[in-house]
Amino acid sequence: MRRLTVPISDEEIRDLKVGDTVHLNGIIVTGRDAAHKFMIEHFIRNEAKPDEVELRDELKRLFDGGVVYHCGPVVKQHEDGSWSFVAAGPTTSIREEVYQPEVIEYFNLKGVIGKGGMGGNTLKACHNQPAVYFHAIGGAASLIAQSVKEVVTVHKLEFGVPEAMWVIRVEDFPVVVTMDSHGASIHDQIEAASKKKLAELLA
């Protein structure tokens, strides 16, 4: 098990191999379907509108060497207006496959946290950037919420609580590297091996 703190360097990323267990620390940002579509349409493929430049630059700062987390949390707002995470497991990542490579490249992301793995285009982007895919344990929402020590702020709350971009500080967030920057993917390996076994069972 190793500990990594955001911002993560290229050397630290290249050092990671599939199967490695990592505890992540520092500031990360949640983003799922609406956030990815928004970043692509408003920042990456088009020029940011004047009233959105500030958010774009803030995300550039947070994501440079940073990590995006595919997560739609359950949050609680306190009387003083501050927030805390109640339940915060990963959501299925493959829905972001059409957006992820461009987002990795544009922001210089070093990691994507989610579940279920991603496809060939993201694997290629992980190789080029370099970056890795961190697999969190799906459904382990109460446990992961405990590693979220602070909700720094929230962007795009108008997308709804699950789809908003929550800026959070995490301590020892447990993940497993399942896609590395050297082209290896546990998901591809298991897919192929289980396909072979299925063929035997259906012979």
Partner: protein, 299 residues
């Protein structure tokens, strides 16, 4: 006679939701514990199951959701003659809003046309509710919280399926269910419980497959042929080695539950309700004495 039309179960429905969201049923937890011992020491599969079990304990202790995707709440309500299902439905909707305000449920109902989240789990046909009148003098409510990740890998086959060489018989059913497990890989947050329905039309078949998920893991099928098929698919699915979260390993499914229903001569559907390890079901019984509600118990 009881005046059951005046009954107000709102606060009990809210408690039922809290229990389902935060307290994994004992049969599921025991099964996950056995699975952990069955994985190689130090493997990613063992690590995943360890994290899952820690999380289950933490959720119960803190009364927080096991999983942040608190899913589609599915209520199956059995009630005696004289109960107003219109009122019970209203109370269930109120309870869902109250449970959302208390962070037991995530706001999970999104308008499909505008994309707007209703914020309190209210919406068109949301939550899902089915009412069944029965001849007993009690109310029994089953609740399942079914998350979106596993719902997305749930699927339906129309037999015969030439690609899978699946005919209209139980061997055909075996073939398509194993294919569904392979297709799902780790995306449905396994180890899974598979609810399978044979027959019906497309709609009733999907519903029947979900209703299988209310069965306890140790519950064996009354029909010996289906009981044998449940056992076979359970063993063979686990031979595929997909493992917890798709990390590889010995535990791909924790249980297989199959139901059958009549079908049209022209149709033979097999539906697979893939349920994540967080198989969040809870039930509630309401008994009456002399016209008054006497006891509410949960399981």
């Amino acid at each position: 006679m009881h005046d059951l039309r005046q009954l107000d179960l709102t606060e009990y429905f809210t408690e039922l939701i809290r229990r389902a969201a935060t307290n994994l049923p004992a049969d599921m937890e025991d099964s996950l514990k056995r699975a952990k011992v069955n994985e190689a020491k130090g493997s990613a599969a063992e690590g995943a199951l360890n994290t899952i079990l820690l999380n289950v304990n933490m959720a119960r202790e803190h009364s927080t959701p096991i999983c942040q995707d608190t899913g589609t709440p599915i209520f199956e309500v059995h009630h005696p003659f004289g109960v107003s299902t219109l009122k019970l439905a209203e109370q269930i909707r109120k309870a869902a809003a109250a449970a959302t305000a208390s962070s037991y449920l995530r706001p999970n109902a999104v308008d499909s046309l505008t994309g707007k989240n209703s914020g309190d789990n209210s919406g068109e046909d949301f939550p899902t509710m089915h009412f069944h009148e029965w001849d007993q003098d009690t109310i029994h409510v089953d609740l399942l919280l079914k998350g979106g990740g596993c719902e997305n890998v749930s699927t339906q086959y129309k037999l015969p399926d030439s690609g899978l060489k699946a005919g209209r018989d139980l061997e055909g059913v075996r073939r398509v269910v194993l294919d569904a497990v392979h297709q799902a890989q780790g995306r449905g947050c396994g180890p899974a419980v598979l609810g399978v329905a044979i027959g019906g039309d497309r709609g009733s078949s999907y519903l029947k497959s979900k209703q299988q998920l209310f069965r306890k893991l140790e519950d064996s099928n009354e029909n010996p042929e289906l009981a044998a098929l449940e056992e076979t698919i359970y063993e063979q699915a686990n031979q595929m080695g997909i493992g917890p979260m798709g990390f590889g390993g010995n535990t791909t499914v924790l249980g297989v539950k199959i139901g059958a229903q009549h079908r049209l001569p022209a149709s033979y559907f097999v539906s697979i309700a893939y349920m994540c390890w967080a198989n969040r079901r809870a039930s509630m019984d309401v008994t009456f004495n002399d016209g008054k509600m006497s006891e509410v118990s949960y399981a």
